[in-house]
Subunit: 339 residues, 2 copies
């Protein structure tokens, strides 16, 4: 079927191009019969406005870039990202935006592609996630005047200028650690992560909980991992030598790796060592034992990122928006609170 133009739709409906354009864009002040006639023609012909022409004339594309700078193989395999992406995709669909995906594995790739997308007008706004503390990506795009929101807060230095959607990582870690302390555990280790603000905040919550209850902070009880199951396994192996009686893992994947390491050492969860995770991934509830963990609203995070970005595109508000979503502790068997 041949692709129609506004002009041709107008002809079929007996009105001008301008009027058809008004109907499509929902302008007021169109008489009911005309609107009806035009809508009928559009429906019958299956007409879809040409998006290139639209964005050329209106200088907006209704495309958002979803950018994950310097993503690691393992990081992307963490179910967190698929779930965020799914939420973002859905929210975009609902709002007639198209999400374009930009994953960067090397600095050169990031350099080349981000340059192109930021300056070509392909994109109306950017959602950045998985940015590291050290990363320059957010700093880089701040120089252009393209709207963007970050998922996960940026480092303190750019906090004020950047709009973001985050979950309350500190409160979550505080909850998890306090929970373990209430159960009587005293040597509470942490499987931490580096290079991201979520990790830093979870670490802060862990320390705050210890100090609020007067438990001494023991640096040797912290092991650094990446966000993978394998990373958790390795870190826990190292931590086992320090004989913790409980451990707070900064993600469910890490917690699962930790449980495997504990088992391989011939110990039992939670009897010998209690484990708490973070995320409440689907697999947390079916783990063995079911994982006590901090549930974060991943879906809401993605949706709010899209909605915030739409708002920024429309109204370019100052100051930047900061959204922090609450988390909750989900108690299951791995912490020893329930059998």
């Amino acid at each position: 079927m041949k692709r129609l133009t506004l002009e041709e739709i107008g002809e079929l409906a007996g009105v001008s191009r301008s009027t058809v354009s008004r109907v499509i864009n929902g302008h007021p002040n169109i008489s009911a019969p005309v609107r009806q006639r035009v809508e009928d023609v559009i429906r019958q012909t299956g007409y879809q406005p040409n998006s290139a022409a639209r964005s050329l004339a209106s200088s907006q594309s209704r495309v958002f870039g979803l950018v994950m700078p310097s993503i690691l193989q393992s990081a992307f395999a963490d179910p967190y990202y698929p779930l965020v992406i799914q939420a973002i995709s859905h929210a975009c669909n609902r709002n007639d935006y198209t999400p374009a995906l930009f994953l960067f594995q090397t600095v050169e790739e990031e350099e080349k592609v981000s340059q192109r997308i930021v300056a070509s007008g392909l994109i109306d706004g950017i959602i950045v996630t998985a940015d590291t503390i050290e990363s320059t990506f957010v700093n880089k795009i701040q120089q252009y005047d393209i709207p963007f929101v970050q998922i996960g807060r940026p480092p303190r230095s750019s906090l004020a200028d950047v709009s973001y959607v985050d979950v309350d990582n500190e409160a979550g870690a505080y909850l998890a650690t306090s929970h373990l302390m209430q159960l009587g555990y005293r040597r509470i280790g942490q499987l931490a992560t580096a290079h991201n603000t979520a990790g830093a905040d979870r670490d802060a919550g862990y320390r705050q909980a210890l100090s609020d209850r007067g438990l001494p902070f023991d640096k040797s009880l912290i092991e650094v991992s990446d966000f993978s199951e394998a990373g958790g396994y390795g870190a826990m192996q190292a931590l086992l030598d320090r004989e913790p009686d409980a451990v707070f893992a900064q993600s469910d994947a890490i917690a699962l790796g930790a449980i495997r390491a504990i088992r391989d050492r011939g110990l039992t969860v939670p009897d010998d060592i209690a484990v708490v995770g973070f995320d409440d991934m689907p697999l947390a509830s079916s783990a063995d034992p079911p994982l006590t963990t901090v549930r974060q609203p991943i879906n809401r995070t993605g949706v709010l990122a899209v909605e915030t970005l739409i708002d920024i595109v429309k109204t370019s508000p100052k100051p930047a928006r900061h959204i922090v979503l609450p988390v909750e502790l989900v108690i299951r068997a791995s912490s020893g609170a329930v059998s």
Copy 2:
């Protein structure tokens, strides 16, 4: 910084808009000094052509749609998809294409969005994956003349008309099942999947292997699951009553669930029941016990899908391209072949 136009670049370089356009698009017959001058100006100004204007004039957008129709929550969490997406993203970046993501959770969503993207010219081509046997998505877009490739073969009925990239699922399952038979197992169950051709082909390979070695086919040894760990757990529980001595799982996630179910029943892998998976996900090698599985080249699948689509866009070749990639058996402890 103000956004420049072709005209302005031309002015700065002392040539016309047309010449600058030629330089950018790599046309021949530009004198060396002129090309040099223009390239210098472009580099200094950081000029990027406006993509809307470009696609309006050339009627191609250099955007590909990555479509996953009727995706299920659980399906997308399978690490397979993140890995394919990553490969596709990377291949697009390298070829100056932009991947736009379309995940559909409901039929209405699919209807509305696909209508828009197919007819609006936003997209030069489509990569479809995760389509089901019953799905109408591929059939639907066949009616438009938009180039597309499918990842995973389509149902037989549209086989001839559809270009696709697939792995040799049947050979993989054959390998896996034969391996178990060679080890002496005789009651070899299968944790199968429905609604997708990969599942059907793996089932065919499983049956072929049994029949080639004269083992009777026992329908009661097949349980149907989805592609999740939880699905594998449930299906294996049911299968355990039929007392298999080995099981071929159609994915690693399913295999992991199966192992958990076997353990929960107080049995051991591989001593009581051997398990073989499919995919060779990162977690397969670190599983307990390490998983014998069929390795499929996910990265190559994604890259070839992009490259094939680019080729189709450029040359619209007939007949359709069919690419089937080889798989290999990776032997680890879970099948009892190695300790």
